[in-house]
Every structure is written in structure tokens, then in C-alpha cells.
Amino acid sequence: MSDPREPLRLSADRDRCVGAGMCALTAPGVFDQDDDEGLVVVLDAAPAAEHRAAARMAVGLCPAGAVALTSAEGTGA
């Protein structure tokens, strides 16, 4: 599995988002939903270590594949 210390970058595609809220429920410090449309808002695109597991889980749970995760490159441990 991926190294939990490895930096993480998150992105969200609001066109794909269906506002189901799995992201905000699973990783509340990392994702939110705007009040107007209920679509995903990334609060923290490079979450600290303690939020990474939740962020990864949110990516897997999103029913619309609207949040993605890319490990930052070129940063050796």
C-alpha cells in the first residue's frame, strides 16, 4: 500500500459531482459541500498525515468518481 507519509494532492471535478456528500461525511476536514448546489469543495488539497486515510477513503467512496488523488511527485522521503 502507499506510504502514509507520502504527500497527497486532491482534486475535485464539480461537473461530475452528484452531491451525495460521501466526501464531506468521510473526510470532513478535507471536503465540504457548498450551500447552494451541494457540490464538492476541496478545503485542503494537500491534507496533513492524520487526514490522509480518510481522504483516500472518500475518494474510493465517491459515487461519481468526482474526487481524485494524485501523490505529489518528486518528493523523496
Binding site: 452528484v18 451525495a20 457548498d34 467512496l61 459515487p63 461519481a64
Partner: protein
């Protein structure tokens, strides 16, 4: 909704007898005859488990299935395949594309589906579906729904007070499981207090398994009239609620009334059955019940596990718009796919020891709310309702137990949403 039942043929014990104008009779090949039909009989075995025959079919995650009109389509029982189908836009949710894997409850003769009525976006695809969904998602965010927790607590408290007065033996469905979601929907839509009893009465008839077709028809029309009145009232004098907000959107009057009806229909029976059947499941698992009593902090994950374990909204149907390959199998354009939520939620590759109710497990990732673009709009509301209601019930009645032997609890084995018809419970009065 589907065709008038009187014009379609009748069905008995799963044998397809299609309408006169259908000529599939001759085109059903011998191979198709040998294909299984969707098992729905839960009478033998544990009331919380899927039909034994369905479990037997779950050794293959994706297999051929014979539909009531003779159509050869698919059955998905694997968790990964279910996710793949539900998140793929090449599968349509439009009712008119679907073949039925089982007779519809109350409409046993119907073999063909009509297009979604105005406002019923469950039966639409993008972009029509997206238009409705986008208008609504902002009203159902995690944050907004959590803000409703106080109201849920209040309504739950009122129901429990009434139970205490009526007890020590009550039908938990009538006293608790049905009113809480009904009151919350009324709150969300903005149904005035003075209309709530009328509203609830008709809704109860709609969901009453024993009510005859005529009574249901009347209740359906009555709810429609109430909804139309309500929409007119909100337009004239907007208040702080969902329907009032929607009057300023581009939805037509008819669409608005339709959406109101969909929210009612989708939000009531489902949550009510989770509360009723969920309580039954907890009472039948005393170890789990004790763990939850001891640590109400387990409520959230208990709710997820009950959603997985009970999978009351099942199955979900889709139809392939083009040829699609799923797990190495080619699903042809036009084939209907039945996603068995209850089977997928018991897939041992995803949930080890799936037939055990275990409130300590991480059940997230279950498909009880579906997956993909149609994933339940009301799920955060349902979560808040259940997370508040179960612990409140247990805290109020420390000696809560069934008032009848478990095998006498009547099950909704023929309804579209699974659950208990009634749940007689009792407790020790101080």
C-alpha cells in the same frame, strides 16, 4: 408508472405469461428456459438474510437471468460488478428501457414499464436527471442535514412519550418507525402542522400492505392534491423550506408537484422500514444491542452496518444503452441488468463474514443507497434520523423486547421495500 395491470397478462409462480401482443413466447430459447429467475422467496430461514436461492446464485458475480416477460438479461450479485454498473453512464435508469425481473408488488400483471411521470427523476438519465438533481443537492448536504438533528431529536422524543403513555405494549412501526421519517419529510418540505395528520394518514394507507388497490389509489390522489395545494400555498407565501425555495427555480408547477411526491415516496417507506426492521435485527442480536447500549458512540457505524445487513431497497435496475464489458463479460445493448443490493452487500470479498450483523465492522462502501449518479439524495437525512432514533429508543426503554415470538413478526415479503409490517414490542413498566 407502469401499464394498467388489467391490460397485461397474469403471472404465477415466476412463470412468464406475457401480454397477447408480445410474441416472445416463440423466441424464448431452450437455454433461456433453463436460466434462473430472480429469487425473492425469503420465507425459509432468517428474516434478515437474502433468499437462500439468491445466495446460491451469488457464486458468480454476474450471470444471465430470465425476466418476467421472457427477456434474457443479467443479475449482478458481486460488489465490484455492482459498483461498475451503477457508476457507468452507459447504463440507463429510464424506466421505459427496463424489463422487470420480478412482478411489481400490487401490480402483478405488469410486464412493461412506462416512462417516468413528470418530476420523477429516478427514471431519467443525464442531462435531464442532472437538472433535477442539481436543484436539490444543495438542500441535502451533510451540514444541512446535521442541522436537522435537533428536530429529529424533538420528534423522536414526542414519539417515545406517546409510546410510554400507550404502552407497555405497542406496534413499533406505527408508534416510532413510520412517524419519525414522515414528520421529517413534512418539516423539510414545509407541510404546515395543521395538515400533517391528514398527510400522514394518506401516506400510511399508501404503504399499508393490506390496503386494497382502490384505497391506495384514493390515498395517492389525496397526496397529490395536498401536494398541489402545498405548492400553490408556497408560491403565494414562501416560507423557509425546500418547496418554497424550489418555487423560484425553473421547475414547472407539474414538475414541482412531481418532485414533492418523489421525495415523499423515496424518503418515507425506506427510512421507516430501516427503523422497524433495524430494531427487530438489534433485538434478535442481544450482544450487539448491549454493545450499542453501552456505547452510544457506536450509533453511526451501527447505522451503516444495519444499512448493509438489511439492504431494504432492493434491487436496482439499469439497462445497457450500448454494448458494455463488465468483468470480462459483454453486456449487449438493450439488456436489463438487475443489481441485487442485498447480494452485493453480502459479498464476502468485500465484507468478510457477511451474514453476521457486526456493529464493530466498517461497513462503509455498502451499496444500500445505491452508487453513481442516482445514489440516494436523502441519505444524509436518513443517516441523521437513524443515528438519533435508535439510541433514543434504547435509552428510553432499557427492557425493550419483542411482544411476540420472532417467527410471528409479519414481514413485508411482497413489498418493493423490505421490512416488517408491524413490530409488537413491550417493556417493563416502572
Amino acid at each position: 408508472m407502469p401499464h394498467d395491470p388489467t391490460t397485461a397478462g397474469t403471472l404465477s409462480d415466476g412463470t412468464a405469461e406475457t401480454t397477447a401482443e408480445t410474441t416472445t413466447e416463440t423466441t424464448i430459447t431452450t437455454a433461456a428456459e433453463e436460466l434462473p429467475t430472480l429469487p425473492t422467496d425469503r420465507r425459509t430461514g432468517c428474516p434478515f438474510d437474502p433468499p437462500a436461492e439468491l445466495t446460491a446464485l451469488s457464486d458468480e458475480p454476474l450471470r444471465r437471468l430470465r425476466y418476467v416477460d421472457g427477456h434474457t438479461g443479467r443479475l449482478v450479485t458481486g460488489h465490484a460488478a455492482a459498483r461498475a454498473v451503477l457508476s457507468d453512464p452507459r447504463f440507463s435508469a429510464r424506466y421505459e428501457h427496463l424489463h422487470l425481473p420480478m412482478p411489481l408488488a400490487g401490480l402483478e400483471g405488469v410486464t412493461e414499464m412506462s416512462p417516468a411521470p413528470v418530476g420523477d427523476f429516478l427514471g431519467l438519465d443525464a442531462p435531464e436527471h442532472t437538472r433535477f438533481r442539481r436543484l436539490l443537492t444543495g438542500k441535502f448536504t451533510v451540514r444541512r442535514m446535521r442541522q436537522l438533528a435537533e428536530r429529529v431529536e424533538q420528534f423522536t422524543g414526542e414519539c417515545l412519550d406517546a409510546m410510554e403513555q400507550a404502552g407497555p405494549t405497542v406496534d413499533l412501526v406505527e408508534a416510532f418507525a413510520r412517524p419519525i421519517p414522515a414528520l421529517m419529510i413534512c418539516e423539510l418540505l414545509g407541510v404546515p402542522y395543521t395538515d400533517r395528520d391528514r398527510f400522514q394518514e394518506h401516506v400510511a394507507t399508501l404503504f399499508d400492505q393490506a390496503a386494497d388497490v382502490a384505497a391506495k389509489g384514493e390515498a395517492f390522489e389525496a397526496v397529490g392534491r395536498l401536494m398541489a395545494e402545498l405548492v400553490a400555498a408556497k408560491r403565494a407565501a414562501p416560507t423557509d423550506d425546500l418547496l418554497s425555495d424550489l418555487t423560484t427555480s425553473d421547475l414547472t408547477e407539474e414538475e414541482l408537484i412531481g418532485v414533492g411526491g418523489v421525495l415523499l415516496a423515496a424518503g418515507l417507506d425506506t427510512t421507516a422500514n430501516m427503523l422497524g426492521l433495524g430494531t427487530f435485527a438489534l433485538l434478535q442480536n442481544p450482544g450487539q444491542l448491549a454493545a450499542l447500549r453501552a456505547d452510544p458512540g457506536l450509533a453511526e457505524q451501527t447505522v451503516e452496518e444495519l444499512l448493509r445487513y438489511l439492504s431494504v431497497a432492493d434491487p436496482i435496475l439499469r439497462s445497457a444503452l450500448e454494448d458494455v464489458e463488465i468483468e470480462g463479460q459483454l453486456i449487449k445493448a438493450g439488456e436489463t441488468v438487475t443489481v441485487s443490493v442485498q447480494a452485493a452487500n453480502r459479498d464476502p470479498r468485500k465484507f468478510p463474514g457477511p451474514d453476521r450483523l457486526d456493529i464493530h465492522r466498517k461497513a462503509t462502501g455498502h451499496l444500500a443507497f445505491g452508487h453513481g449518479a442516482h445514489q440516494c439524495l436523502g441519505q444524509q437525512l436518513a443517516r441523521v434520523e437513524m443515528t438519533v432514533a435508535f439510541p433514543a429508543l434504547l435509552a428510553r426503554f432499557p427492557t425493550l423486547r419483542l411482544a411476540v415470538p420472532p417467527h410471528e413478526v409479519p414481514l413485508r415479503d411482497r413489498a418493493n421495500i423490505y421490512g416488517v409490517v408491524s413490530l409488537p414490542v413491550t417493556w417493563d413498566k416502572e
